[in-house]
Symmetry: C2
Subunit: 317 residues, 2 copies
Amino acid sequence: MPDGVGAAAPFERLAIVGLGLIGASIALGARASGAAATVVGTDASADVLRRAGELALCDEIADDLGDAVRGADLVILCVPVGVCGALARDLAPHLAPGAILSDAGSVKEAVVREVSPHLPAGAVFVPAHPIAGTERSGPEAGFAALFHGRWCVLTPPPGTDEAAVARVRAFWERLGSQVETMDAAHHDLVLAVTSHLPHLIAYNIVGTAADLEAVTQSEVIKFSAGGFRDFTRIAASDPTMWRDVFLHNREAVLEMLGRFNEDLAALARAIRWGDGDALHRFFARTGEIRRGVVTSGQDTPEPDFGRRRGEDGPPPA
Amino acid sequence: MPDGVGAAAPFERLAIVGLGLIGASIALGARASGAAATVVGTDASADVLRRAGELALCDEIADDLGDAVRGADLVILCVPVGVCGALARDLAPHLAPGAILSDAGSVKEAVVREVSPHLPAGAVFVPAHPIAGTERSGPEAGFAALFHGRWCVLTPPPGTDEAAVARVRAFWERLGSQVETMDAAHHDLVLAVTSHLPHLIAYNIVGTAADLEAVTQSEVIKFSAGGFRDFTRIAASDPTMWRDVFLHNREAVLEMLGRFNEDLAALARAIRWGDGDALHRFFARTGEIRRGVVTSGQDTPEPDFGRRRGEDGPPPA
């Protein structure tokens, strides 16, 4: 545990709104780490509430949004970014004085714009984005270690109460994350490159493959180990979450997509004209970024991500 | 071990030309499984030969191509597809009568076209493509289990000696692969979708990210867990191998890239005009392909490919 963690007191009562992969993992992580004394969870879906109850994710389950947030000193919205504004409006009258409202959305400028107007006097909004996830969805997908060693980005608007920001930072550090603070617009640009565009591309290529008439879907699946399977994992993520990401980070995504398309056109031209030197130059320069990803701890160095291959699997790095 | 394996006698002497990831893995797999009594390896690089010797990958190391293939009843070219033709020409005079020549190239029509003219009378060419690999290169990257549970596609031209095809099939089955036979042109189309296009896209997005001025490379690396890291692994593959793949499967790759671009333009349009229904529809239909990839054994069902997250990692599927 890094120095200074625990300096800020844990929260008394954490309310989690939305019990999917992220909400369930925060509930489990907060309870396992003692980041909150009591965790209450709620969800718009009665089915999700029932499953969350069976999994005992939270200390309390509330089927009413007002009941869930009443008396909480930290409320985290773990929902698609498109509904954050409406939820903030609905829960605002029930927020305790001095409560901190936060979220876990993958887009920050739009969420700040849509949530802030509903914030009652005395409450503080500290937008957050834990950069962690798997291709799974729903409360069953949650696990306490999801945030271990991952980054959580806070994007407090100028003038946000610094003590509240420090408490949210300490919360995420207790869950095992490293925390960084940045401007919301810059966050959205960085994530457009490192997350939103990769997802768009992965969804697209899987869709292209699904439409082919000359190659059957069974062939695509059978021979997917040549690279395609990695895209299918990314393209198995929650469709509602991703629809909202693209609708709410439109400018940055379209800007990055424009650059991607220019580069791809240049590669296509090199292929068409047989320019092997250009292709080799392009393919050779990306290895350094890979080494950075591995040495910075954002991926395992094992070949194929350590996919299990039996006892006589790949050698360790 | 499936029925029928071992029905064809193992090879007496296997010569492996090129001791990178694939050649080294074939050497180790053939020795571990008894698919060949003696394995001799050669490589154009003196440095690779020295490392292969230190690793004891083969029973014999030959620094001369003629010495390597002389007396071999199976010769496998494990080199970038662009040099298969020249190597076939150079080794042809040294091939034993009745020898089988094979390869491991990711493109088949061009290799058949470039290798066949050099084949001496009495020798048989059985083109093969083991669909397996990792992002690593070089003899140190090899491991015997690389081909376990993976597909190996044979593309013998019409009229190829059936006994020779059966022996190569049995060889790959001994190394743990499932074997499929198909037309070379169809292979190249299928692989353009499931492997070549995914690699092109991955190289391209990593290159786009590397060029950004507003986002530093360290930010791209730091926040890569949002999807980007999966592309960096694919884009860390051997540049020479991939240059040759694109130069030798040009038509199929450009055709698939054209379809990909049309689909991507439609997605971009939906983002620009805020068409959430179209986005959701598109994102929802790719999950079925993911389930197929997992149930067919071409990927692990564990979230994040079972990337190790400490003892309290993701729950099993």
